[in-house]
């Protein structure tokens, strides 16, 4: 059933469009329910695709029936379908959260959410570099719109910075694409990987420049130092559901880095192999550092979580920089965990803030919460997960990543930073928790109870780390297979550039 691949993109697109038209656009409720149905369908589709990809075959979908490298192809391999699944789950939970009291104003919110998902999914599925640019723009313009929902000074300022930085980033992206096309004469990722292998060494520096410019663009999305400054403000400013969905946005950047620099500039790229590592390694490590500093300096819960995201990004980048199969597998496992948990924490932070009255999520003593015990317990679980303490998945991921470092140099850089950042998280979160839930200046003014649907969203997300660790055996196995397929460049080239796709056989 090849058309599943395109369905994963058509669904959010058509869904978003239909939500703009009667009869669905007449009421928020209708839009929301429709969106939920879409999201459920999306989960089903991604699950099917993921399950297909686990057979090890790479599904290639030639749009317009033009085979790669001439047409644009969508590639459903282990990695892309994995990310697709992650997105669908995340989107579902964010969507659930919009069912709460704070329903975002404007009839465009739900459509924009769908377009955002379209952009993200497209970025994961496409096998064509320029098409990746287009989907980046889709997810960006949608995120601009979503970020600005609600208005307010801080939001506007954050939005302005975010937008301008990304516009500059898009310019760099186009320059880079131009360089790659102008030297290698193609845009399909697999084809690029192939052409790089037979590149005249005289031209290598040009291609290298193009490749590294891509690293900047993706690094901006992933919030890699020194391109991470926009993140805390933007994430702290956006409405909870949006912030939760944004948790995947940094991972889009990381995915792109993983894809481009493992496949195009991978082992087989001759003089250009592993050009990213030399930059990713120090920058990733420094990102951990700056993230940790940000964590310590955070005055409110949302910023704290946002900075924790930066820490996790740095960790991922540093581990990816090792450019080894086991490192990639470890990073992937941790990526799943960190995405889900940070989304869950963003939503939880909103629940907490709303029960604390006017102190909101600022880390100062305040009145008690309506559901102190419940939210306290959830926060406790979330904290353990995000710190990376056993028995939740964070610990498995960190242990995997640490043991992926092999040489003394790698260990002596990676271990102190990763373990140190965990300690920082431990200190700050234990402080935050005891301030929020124990250091109370009195009983709550009026008992606010969390909306059950929103609570459900949080619980689902916070349950993920537990599941990930209980089933760590099979999951890590899956990640290993995924990494193995990603690093098998020739295999990808072979299956993407095969002259006829399954579709054509129908003719």
């Amino acid at each position: 059933m090849q058309h599943l691949i395109i369905l994963s993109l058509i669904l959010p697109l058509l869904g978003g469009l239909l939500m703009l038209l009667p009869p669905i656009n007449v009421s928020r409720v209708r839009q929301r329910n429709f969106a939920l149905a879409l999201s459920a369908a999306a989960i089903l589709i991604s699950a099917l695709l993921l399950q297909q990809a686990q057979q090890g075959v790479i599904g290639v979908y030639a749009l317009g029936d033009w085979a790669a490298p001439f047409g644009i192809v969508l590639v459903a391999d282990r990695l892309s379908t994995l990310m697709l699944m992650l997105t669908s789950v995340l989107a579902f939970c964010s969507l659930l959260y919009t069912f709460g009291p704070r329903n975002e104003d404007g009839s465009f919110f739900q459509p924009l959410l769908q377009f955002q998902i379209l952009g993200i999914n497209g970025a994961f599925m496409t096998g064509d570099l320029f098409n990746l640019f287009v989907f980046f723009e889709i997810l960006l313009i949608a995120s601009y719109g979503l970020l600005m929902f609600g208005g307010g000074k801080t939001r506007t300022r954050a939005g302005l910075h975010y937008v301008i930085l990304n516009l500059a980033g898009s310019a760099i992206f186009l320059f880079a694409l131009g360089i790659l096309y102008g030297t290698l004469g193609t845009l399909n990722i697999a084809d690029l990987a192939q052409k790089v292998q037979h590149l005249d060494p005289g031209e290598a520096p040009l291609v290298r420049a193009g490749g590294l410019m891509l690293l900047i663009v993706f690094g901006l999305k992933a919030a890699m130092l020194p391109l991470q400054f926009w993140l805390p403000a933007a994430y702290a400013a956006s409405t909870p559901a949006v912030a939760a969905l944004f948790a995947i946005m940094t991972k889009v950047g990381i995915y792109a880095i993983l894809r481009v620099f493992t496949v195009i500039f991978g082992d087989a790229a001759g003089p250009l192999s592993h050009i990213a590592g030399a930059w990713l390694w120090p920058l990733g490590l420094m990102t951990i550092l700056i993230g940790a500093i940000g964590v310590l300096a955070s005055q409110d819960l949302r910023r704290l979580i946002a900075n924790l995201i930066i820490v996790s990004v740095g960790t991922l980048l540093a581990v990816i920089a090792l450019e080894r199969e086991n490192a990639t597998a470890a990073a992937l496992y941790y990526l799943l965990h960190s995405t889900l948990i940070s989304a869950g924490l963003f939503l939880l932070a909103d629940l907490i803030a709303r029960q604390r009255g006017k102190v909101g999520d600022r880390l100062v003593p305040g009145r008690g919460l309506g559901q102190n015990r419940l939210l306290g317990a959830l926060f406790f679980i979330g904290a353990i997960a995000v710190i990376g303490m056993p028995p939740l998945a964070g610990f498995v991921g960190k242990a995997l990543m640490l043991s992926a470092a092999s040489s003394v140099a790698e260990m002596s850089w990676l271990w102190p930073l990763v373990l140190g950042s965990s300690l920082v998280a431990l200190i700050t979160l234990s402080r935050a928790g005891s301030t929020l839930f124990w250091n109370l200046s009195g009983k709550p003014a009026e008992i606010v109870r969390a909306n059950p649907v929103q609570l459900l969203a949080v619980v689902i997300l916070l349950a993920m780390p537990l599941l990930l660790s209980v089933f760590a055996g099979p999951v890590t196995g899956m990640m290993a297979a995924t990494a193995q397929q990603l690093h098998d460049v020739q295999g990808q080239i072979g299956s993407v550039l095969q002259p006829v796709t399954q579709m054509v056989e129908v003719k």
């Binding site: 313009i141 500059a168 310019a171 096309y181």
Partner: protein, 117 residues
Amino acid sequence: MEALYAFCVGVLTASGVFLLLRGRTFPVVVGLTLLSYGVNLFLFATGRLNVSDAAVLGAGSNHSDPLPQALVLTAIVIGFAMTAFVVILAMRARGDLGNDHVDGRVPEIVLDSEERN
């Protein structure tokens, strides 16, 4: 010719970058527009320069590389959308923050204040 063309690309890029680094929203927008001109010319040139080629089939023997043109077209449209958004966002920022500085706060040192708001 190529050198001249490359020079123009450089000039456009440089001016764009310089304006991008200004403190107020409007020059930044103008800068982004200039930068996108530079980008588009750059992208267009990846198909190499051809003076008298046929644009459409049948009208001539040799053809210029059509793919970069298509890419530039897409880039132009997306650039237009983005420019429009950032312009309106700049207006919005002026409305919300009371001034048109990119950081929403006017720096202490204003060497001469023609600012009217």
